[in-house]
Symmetry: C2
Subunit: 358 residues, 2 copies
């Protein structure tokens, strides 16, 4: 059925469709549904602790025998910068006043944890079939433990240089993340947003540059994007946003409404929500303080001072201060169960492949 | 051979490959070569006058009986802004001093002409099979004359909204220009660079939004990109940068050297070269005064004050002050004659289509 079986065989899946791990908007419901449809299930760990990691893996394993990818961030924890964090809080003060929030209350701590010894110990014990990283790879000692545990290792590259680096440092599969992608840019060797390549340009150049199998990510929302990615040389696609309309996703109501009203030009890359560049629907704080701000604290600290605003605004049904990550193909999403979406995407891609060849 | 014959039949060409019109770096040599290979030849008119237009069409017609597309810009001529233009000249003064150029010498006038009555009269007389526009469409009176002359009308859309506007205003074919594309962004209903969609996301959304045939542009440098674009629903592709390495192109030596050393992340969108956003290889003035400058004069005035610097630097073999437009797939280009490139791209795309379908 599929011509390129490299990743299907390596992962043990039916269709070359990887669920993007989307921290904060999904849990095992979406992962199990995608696995049952024949795609690769991913679970995002960046906002969890080890106890929740264990609970989610247990839930997943109880529901299905299909393979599982656990995704971790590998950012360096930020160096506190009081002046910058103060400036950021000052710039948000008018919003605090508007919502009647005490600006002197302690800033909530941020929720993104990098891959560490405790996470690694859980991986060694639970042995997910795959582990994927974002923002590079962990230290060699940790990475070696993951590989000894038998996990296939994946990570994101936003440039050819990053793809080559991942190959040289022990990665098994490269996810080529084009500029269209929703969520955090995986960039780790560059901070030049202006030169980030789009998926159409990035994928074939990464395929040419590394021997590893390549997964295409960014702007892929339906069967047309899947076939296009395969034509570019990808062995599979990673899809996130298109699964957010599924009933199994855990997006908050304003995020779901934004997905339902999505247009091609409704997202931008911003650093104001977390401190690192990420693509999402434009909201009030991105419009009024960004999309790129020089004073947004380092990742993930920027999100702390936004948390009380997020809570208040969400209670009023507004996403004005919430990260509503989405890629540029959000409008191609369909509001159907995720299992059905995987099956349909695979069937439609097969049909399109036959039609194109005549 | 090709499944989708809409544009092949409409244009009277063999292969769904359109040569992007690239003002300043090509003339009839490249156009004739692409036509002879079975693609659609385009000639850029934005830097010519009517006499040169006539001469180029005559040369083209003498060389081949294949169809011809004439491309025009449709920008509104800029309103002079002395303060801004002065600030721009002031910011370039250190470079003038470095190159020994008299900063008091008159600023050369810019060379980009919008489509006007004289161009239109030439079109009515010479009847190119196609006329394409960039930055929207000309006034209705001019557009009607082009259509009465029997020319198929094309224009670029960088968003779904622009594609719908073009369809509603009499365009026959939409060129969906993704963010990867080299040269000027065709944007005319938005000035939001941050939300410009990449090709992978833009093309299927434009295809869904309009009934017109769609040409995909941006990040397409080889057969993989062609097949990907067809998968996304495009009826043809427009390729520019990949033809610049051909011996028939007229790129200056620093531009050719940049093409030969191209990487995926070597271009950015800048407004400092002309006043309008365009993608090209990063050079010194883009790095030191841009890539986006608030004081760069309106299109095309920014280029005037750079012209003496361009001339001096080029004489020393440097592109430090020259527009070296290129898209993000520049590294996929091949240094072979353009006719051969068209034939090979078509053959390779056919082979890939068969291979993908199994």
């Amino acid at each position: 059925m599929w011509q390129d079986r490299r990743l299907l065989d390596l992962f043990g899946i039916e269709h070359p469709i990887v669920l993007a791990p989307m921290a904060g908007v999904m849990d095992t419901d979406l992962a199990v549904a995608v696995a049952d449809g024949g795609g690769l299930a991913s679970l995002p760990m960046a906002m969890l602790d080890e106890a929740k990691l264990r609970a989610q893996v247990e839930t997943f394993r109880a529901a299905t025998a299909r393979p599982l990818n656990l995704n971790f961030f590998t950012h360096t924890p930020p160096v506190p910068n009081n002046a910058r964090e103060h400036a950021w809080r000052e710039s948000l003060k008018p919003y605090y006043a508007e919502y009647g929030i005490d600006p002197a209350a302690p800033v909530p701590s941020s929720e993104r944890k990098p891959f560490n010894d405790a996470f690694c110990a859980a991986v060694e014990e639970l042995k997910p079939e795959l582990v994927s990283f974002h923002f590079g790879l962990p230290d060699k000692a940790l990475l070696d433990r993951v590989k000894v545990a038998g996990c296939v290792v994946m990570s994101s590259a936003t440039t050819v240089e990053e793809a080559r680096w991942l190959e040289a440092h022990g990665c098994d599969v490269v996810i080529a993340q084009g500029a269209e992608a929703g969520g955090h840019r995986g960039m780790f060797l560059t901070d030049s947003l202006a030169s980030q390549p789009g998926t159409m340009a990035l994928v074939p150049q990464v395929v040419d540059a590394v021997k590893l199998p390549v997964i295409a990510a960014g702007g892929i929302g339906d069967a047309r994007g899947i076939v296009a990615a395969l034509a570019l040389g990808a062995a599979a696609v990673q899809i996130g946003t298109a699964f957010l309309l599924a009933p199994e996703s855990k997006v908050l109501p304003p995020h779901r409404a934004a997905l339902q009203a999505a247009r091609d030009d409704g997202t931008v890359v911003t650093n104001v929500m977390t401190g690192r560049p990420a693509r999402g629907f434009v909201n009030r704080v991105m419009r009024e303080r960004g999309p790129i701000s020089d004073i947004a604290p380092a990742f993930p600290l920027a999100g702390g001072a936004l948390a009380p605003l997020h809570a208040k605004a969400q209670a009023q049904g507004s996403g004005d201060f919430s990260a509503m990550w989405a890629g540029q193909a959000a409008a191609l999403g369909r509001e159907i169960p995720a299992r059905e979406l995987v099956v349909r995407l695979a069937e439609e891609a097969q049909t399109l492949l036959r039609r194109l060849a005549g």
